[in-house]
């Protein structure tokens, strides 16, 4: 099947399984939102930050859902690009996306939101990028899919949608368009 990965590339991929179908995906995202409510309501000192580019559709969903539960409540929500902090820029050149943090993170509780947690290197870079913007009182990690047993750094999620086992030659793709689902597919080098 041929799928368009936006600006990244157009690639042929072999879809193996659906990890979460549309209904499960919505339920999982809503559960994550409710867990965030449990720990952070009324969100006074909390800010949510989606990691560019693929964490943002997930964080957009969560923020939209939280706003629908608490209409009128102001949520602090930003986007963070980590390109310049990556440790693999010598191997592959990444073109940056937008960083938009319209608030100070100083002494706030920050929830980083991403789609898939794999080696942990993205989150390491995200923490470096985040700390260059100030000193939050606490940083938490909210992940839709955790590819467990594949971490290369000591990083674990605080909120996890679904933990899966996968091979190094596979990839996880979170789709949040009309055909919303999470799929596992073959990605041989």
């Amino acid at each position: 099947m041929r799928m368009n990965f936006g600006y990244l590339c157009t690639t042929i991929m072999n879809e193996l399984t659906t990890i979460l179908d549309k209904d499960q995906l919505h339920l999982t995202l809503q559960r994550l939102s409710h867990q965030l409510i449990e720990n952070h309501h009324p969100f006074k000192d909390t800010c949510f930050i989606g990691i560019q580019p693929r964490g943002v559709p997930v964080s957009d969903y969560i923020i939209k859902y939280l706003s629908s539960l608490y209409p009128g409540m102001e949520l602090q929500y930003g986007k963070l690009d980590i390109t310049f902090y990556r440790d693999d820029i010598r191997r592959q050149l990444h073109v940056p996306s937008e960083t938009h943090l319209p608030f100070s993170i100083e002494n706030k509780k920050v929830v980083l939101i991403d789609d898939v947690l794999y080696t942990g290197r993205t989150i390491r870079a995200a923490m470096d990028a985040l700390l260059d913007n100030g000193r939050p009182s606490k940083v938490e990690l909210c992940i839709l899919v955790d590819r467990r047993y594949s971490r290369q750094l000591p990083i674990q999620p605080d909120y996890c949608g679904k933990a899966i086992d996968s091979f190094i030659t596979q990839k996880v793709k979170v789709l949040l368009d009309d055909d919303a689902r999470v799929v596992l597919y073959d990605y041989p080098d």
Partner: protein, 310 residues
């Protein structure tokens, strides 16, 4: 996605896609420069030498700042006070510096083509910071970013480059870039300072009446009269140049639209540009300088990935 060239020798070698990547990346670096910590670790394993064989204030400081903001290690070299005065050749100087494990060379030289020559003989990545009367690519890129920020896009915009076109590397780089990005270009100035065949070579407009040029354009990029490069009398006096070709408040007030005023610096105040115009709200000269750091960060960042392919 990456640049199609290994070095930045001139805008001539870049594709429109390359230019877009550089400008988009620069926009993100501008955001970095607004942060409390204006520094990213991207180039922390890269060593860059700034080779300046010609005087420079803005470009050198801007490059140096860009390198520091990217966490690169930098060495500065200026020809005065070096072994160049003992007769060492350019290639020998650079090879000696490179044997100390330098990855990238930022270079300004009074001879056109000097960086091109070096790029054929050394393995490091070369960024041209101005070579003679040939090109000054980062200046054109920062000019493009400044126009894009103010007007939204470059396509279809009318840009007049006014002044000493003949001796200006800024003009040549700007013409290449603006044409590639679909802008309309006019050069204006005294006939003696405009190359004879420029109209046919680049398919651009040529105008000798500054008033008409200003009436036509949305952006006026005013260039410095480069007295140091002129070896013959091309106009009678600076005073006369100012009267005939200088941009004055009176000229701009006579127009029915507002023209953005740009200048690559250093300004000869009262010659090509009057003080009250240079310091007015429609001048974006200081925005250009600010964008310079972001654009140079983008160029160095995008080219730094190329050095391992040698």
């Amino acid at each position: 996605m990456q640049l199609s060239t290994k070095h930045l020798l001139g805008i001539r070698d870049l594709s429109p896609q390359d230019i877009r990547i550089i400008l988009d990346t620069a926009t993100q670096f501008k955001e970095v420069l607004q942060r409390p910590i204006k520094k990213v670790p991207s180039l922390r394993d890269v060593t860059i030498v700034n080779l300046f064989y010609e005087n420079s204030t803005r470009t050198r400081i801007s490059f140096e700042l860009a390198e520091k903001r990217l966490s690169a290690d930098t060495i500065n070299f200026t020809s005065s006070g070096s072994s160049v005065s003992k007769g060492e050749t350019l290639l020998d100087t650079v090879n000696n510096i490179l044997s100390m494990k330098v990855d990238m060379v930022v270079m300004r030289h009074s001879a056109s083509g000097a960086p091109h020559f070096l790029s054929r003989h050394i393995p490091a990545v070369i960024v041209n910071a101005g070579d003679g009367i040939n090109e000054h690519p980062t200046q054109a890129l920062l000019d493009a970013l400044s126009i894009q920020e103010k007007l939204g896009s470059l396509e279809g915009r009318r840009v007049a480059i006014i002044g000493d076109i003949m001796h200006s590397r800024v003009a040549l780089s700007n013409i290449h870039l603006l044409k590639k990005m679909g802008a309309e270009v006019m050069v204006a100035g005294p006939p003696t300072l405009i190359p004879k065949h420029i109209k046919a070579a680049f398919d651009i407009k040529v105008e000798h009446d500054v008033k008409k040029a200003l009436a036509w354009c949305e952006v006026a990029n005013v260039l410095r009269i480069q007295l140091e490069r002129q070896n013959q009398v091309l106009f009678s006096s600076l005073r006369e140049y100012n009267l005939a070709y200088g941009i004055t408040r009176k000229l701009l007030d006579g127009l029915d639209h507002e023209v953005l005023i740009m200048h690559p610096g250093p300004i000869n105040r009262g010659v090509e540009l009057d003080s009250d115009v240079a310091d007015s709200g429609q001048s974006i000269i200081l925005d250009q300088v600010e964008n310079g750091v972001a654009v140079r960060m983008a160029v160095l960042y995008l080219l730094s990935g190329k050095r391992d392919n040698t």
